[in-house]
């Protein structure tokens, strides 16, 4: 692929640079945070390549969802100065990722489905009834928090009670967070359904603003933070013993597994078709959810971002 067609890395002459797996962030002269979403894709906790248009889809889709959920909980968005960039409140993040699950699914050892099929009935502190079907709906969406570990340690699943017991979040604030997460998931489920998707599960991050107010931060209901299933093929596939068709990172994860990769050793080179297919799915998800046409921003992406940010960066 033409290296100018994707945004892999970005250098900006700004302080307090943080580099995540997919996002780069800096502090602006105003004290606000600049978040740039690259085209990098991660799987098995590693960056494994780039996917055309992915950064723009994530940034614009998140911005779209933030605007459509601000009546439920305030968020960190200040402005969207570029298709790949967001200016946000420099919030103090809560040390817990709030995962909400609506379906009995997943294939990794921390997922609900393998544990339920192995006979476990109390998962993340929630009791599940007998007779649930693979990939079918849970009696109600459940919150399964994980800790946010620093220094390369793997995040750890905890129960909703442990979040308070471990002193991660104050009890009153945690109640507020849980209510927001459940309401956000209901909103996401409803809007996804209208576009022909099931929102199977998702992850929210929250933070506290300068005045201590609760803010939704990071990203919302994107195909990186969520699992979206196509409704039209779902029932047939589940009947045929298959997982639903996923509009997210799952096809890439499965292609890596097919290439013999399970998270250690050198990352295999995936066929271009796998990454092209993922790009098409991300764009289709964006267009169907928002009802907007996806219009790729000008290239080279890095030059465009630098130009769009110059007024904010005081350059």
């Amino acid at each position: 692929m033409d290296s100018r067609a994707v945004l892999e890395t970005l250098d900006l002459d700004l302080p307090d640079h943080h580099s995540g797996k997919v996002r780069e962030s800096w502090r602006l002269p105003t004290g606000q945070r600049l978040l740039v979403t690259t085209d990098r894709i991660s799987a098995f906790d590693r960056v494994i390549g780039t996917v055309e248009h992915k950064g723009q889809v994530l940034n614009q889709l998140s911005a779209w969802w933030f605007a459509r959920t601000s009546d439920i909980v305030a968020n960190h968005v200040i402005s969207v100065p570029d298709p790949n960039a967001l200016v946000a409140v420099d919030a103090n993040p809560l040390p817990v990722e709030v995962v909400v699950r609506g379906r009995l699914t997943g294939s990794t050892s921390t997922s609900l489905l393998p544990r339920y099929e192995a006979g476990e009935r109390v998962l993340y502190g929630h009791r599940l009834p007998e007779g649930l079907t693979a990939h079918g709906p849970l009696p109600e969406p459940m919150i399964t928090p994980t800790t946010k570990e620093t220094g390369g340690a793997h995040d750890r699943p905890v129960t909703i009670d442990e979040v308070v017991e471990l002193g991660l979040v104050e009890p009153g604030l945690w109640t507020q967070v849980q209510k927001a997460a459940i309401d956000l998931f209901a909103r996401g489920t409803e809007i996804a359904a209208a576009a022909g998707f099931v929102l199977a599960d998702t992850k929210y991050e929250f933070g506290l603003g300068p005045d201590g107010e609760l803010l939704l931060i990071d990203e919302v209901h994107t195909p990186d933070s969520s699992r979206f299933w196509a409704v039209d093929s779902m029932d047939d596939r589940i009947r045929a013993g298959l997982a639903p068709e996923s509009y997210d990172k799952e096809p890439v994860r499965l292609a890596l597994k097919a290439a013999g990769y399970s998270g250690s050793g050198p990352v295999p080179h995936l066929p271009e078709a796998v990454l092209a297919d993922t790009s098409a799915r991300y764009v289709e998800l964006y267009e169907r959810l928002t009802g907007l046409a996806f219009e790729p921003g000008e290239r080279p992406i890095a030059d465009r971002i630098a130009a769009n940010l110059a007024p904010l960066a005081g350059q």
Binding site: A255, K257, H269
Partner: protein, 161 residues
Amino acid sequence: MRVVILSGSPRDSGWVDQIAAVLDRLDVPVVRRVGSAHRVPEHVLGLLRQYDAEPQPTVFITVAGMSDALSGLTDANVVSPVIACPPRSDAFAGLDVLSSLRTPPGVAPIVALEPGNAALAAAKILGLHDADLRLRISAYQVEMANRVLEADAELTGGVRA
């Protein structure tokens, strides 16, 4: 979608494991059953009728050594494709394999002698109607090819042509 691996004896489980490992890598669901065409033909026919009547796309892989009656019996009684993958045997100069190769007219099990190849052939058949599976097969093939190219690059000082 699924692959039903039918073996003639529980002694074949190591061979079946090797087939199942590649199918698992390709995320293709596997059902494992045991049934000898010589010893329990009624049991085998019952299994075949059950799996063949269900609507989901199915490929059978039959694993039977010595005198492989299982592959022909299976193929003659199901409309889904059958791949014979007899376990490797050095006895009698490997002539056991002939019992998997010669079948009467109208009985057409395909033969794949490597367990991973039987799995790959089954996945390719199922992939005809599953674009996602085809991408995974492509990732598997690219990785196989890259292993060869990397081995050659290592011999020539890390330069990959």
